[in-house]
């Protein structure tokens, strides 16, 4: 196989990060540009080009896909992605902090908890990942006009409100309050009269946008 064929195959694999519809529309064109930008003799995609394609492909999959005619829904979806980002940040900080505690006090048990530190850390990471997944799932479903997602988001926000009073420690309270405020703003926007037209009952003829 020639260098060029190897390179093209590598780029085609990376283009799989994009949504299928976008790939069908623009894949050949992007591939042509990638090949034109590659220096002679290059056999595989470079690190920077690979990272750029993966990042762009993921963004095309996750970006708010709400028309400008529904600005309140657009803002709500953007807030949900912000919520996911804040939750990710809090999870990273928590992991770093717990890793530090774990090093200095290996084998100790967390105050007030019966589980050893590694179990508590694992549970915390799993809960954090589930919360991030929920933010992303709701944002995606809402951007596709799913009315059930609007209702489920409101239920999840209510549960988060109940959980808000169970947090201890400055770090936990600050991040819980921040994500709660983001959630409240998103839910408020979703139930604005201007958002109603974007959501229609199931079985309607509304054309759903797909990412």
């Amino acid at each position: 196989m020639t260098d060029q064929a190897n390179l093209e195959r590598g780029y085609r694999r990376l283009l799989a990060w994009y949504p299928r519809a976008f790939r069908q529309e623009n894949g050949q064109e992007i591939l042509a540009v990638l090949m034109a930008c590659a220096p002679d003799g290059q056999r595989r995609p470079g690190l920077a080009a690979s990272a750029d394609l993966i990042r762009s492909g993921l963004w095309m999959r996750l970006r708010p896909n709400v028309p400008r005619s529904a600005p309140t829904v657009r803002a709500a979806v953007q807030l949900m992605y912000t919520g996911a980002a804040v939750t990710t940040l809090s999870l990273i900080i928590a992991i770093i902090s717990l890793a530090h505690i774990g090093r200095s006090a290996a084998g100790l048990r967390l105050a007030g908890h019966s589980q050893p530190v590694p179990v508590a850390v694992t549970v915390g990471i799993v809960v954090g990942l589930v919360l991030i997944a929920l933010w992303l799932w709701m944002a995606r479903a809402i951007s596709q006009g799913r009315n059930w997602a609007r209702i489920l988001s409101t239920v999840l926000f209510s549960l988060a409100t109940l959980h808000l009073f169970g947090n201890k420690g400055v770090f936990e309270v600050v991040f819980a309050l921040l994500t709660w405020l983001i959630g409240m703003a998103a839910v408020w926007l979703l139930w604005r009269p201007t958002s109603a037209a974007f959501f229609k009952p199931q079985g309607s003829t509304q054309v759903r946008q797909s990412a």
């Binding site: 050949q28 042509a32 920077a48 080009a49 993966i54 762009s56």
Partner: protein, 100 residues
């Protein structure tokens, strides 16, 4: 930058990348992934549109052009930047001719 690259007429993806590099004096190097994400957004915002498509060496080449809205937006942004630059230069001159 992409709008500026299209101000002279329609261009294809690779042409935009090389033009942006030239306009920015080599400081901005657009990558294909970033470019097509931006082109998709600019098309959705109706600032640019597909002008025509060609097949060159068996590969698709799509040309993009500014729409009237895009031309207006680019003009407004250029005027804003010019006003900002003029204000900065004026203040530097008033402060002791540093901008000479």
């Amino acid at each position: 930058m992409i709008l500026t690259a299209l101000a002279n007429g329609s261009q294809h993806g690779y042409g935009i990348i090389t033009d942006v590099r030239e306009i920015s004096d080599g400081r901005v190097r657009l990558r294909a992934g970033t470019l097509y994400t931006a082109l998709d957004r600019l098309c959705a915002d109706e600032l640019i549109a597909v002008d025509r498509e060609e097949i060159v060496d068996g590969r698709l080449r799509r040309y993009y052009r500014l729409t009237p809205t895009g031309t207006k937006r680019l003009g407004a942004e250029a005027a804003r930047l010019q006003a900002h630059a003029t204000a900065a230069l004026t203040r530097l001159n008033l402060a002791g001719g540093m901008a000479t």
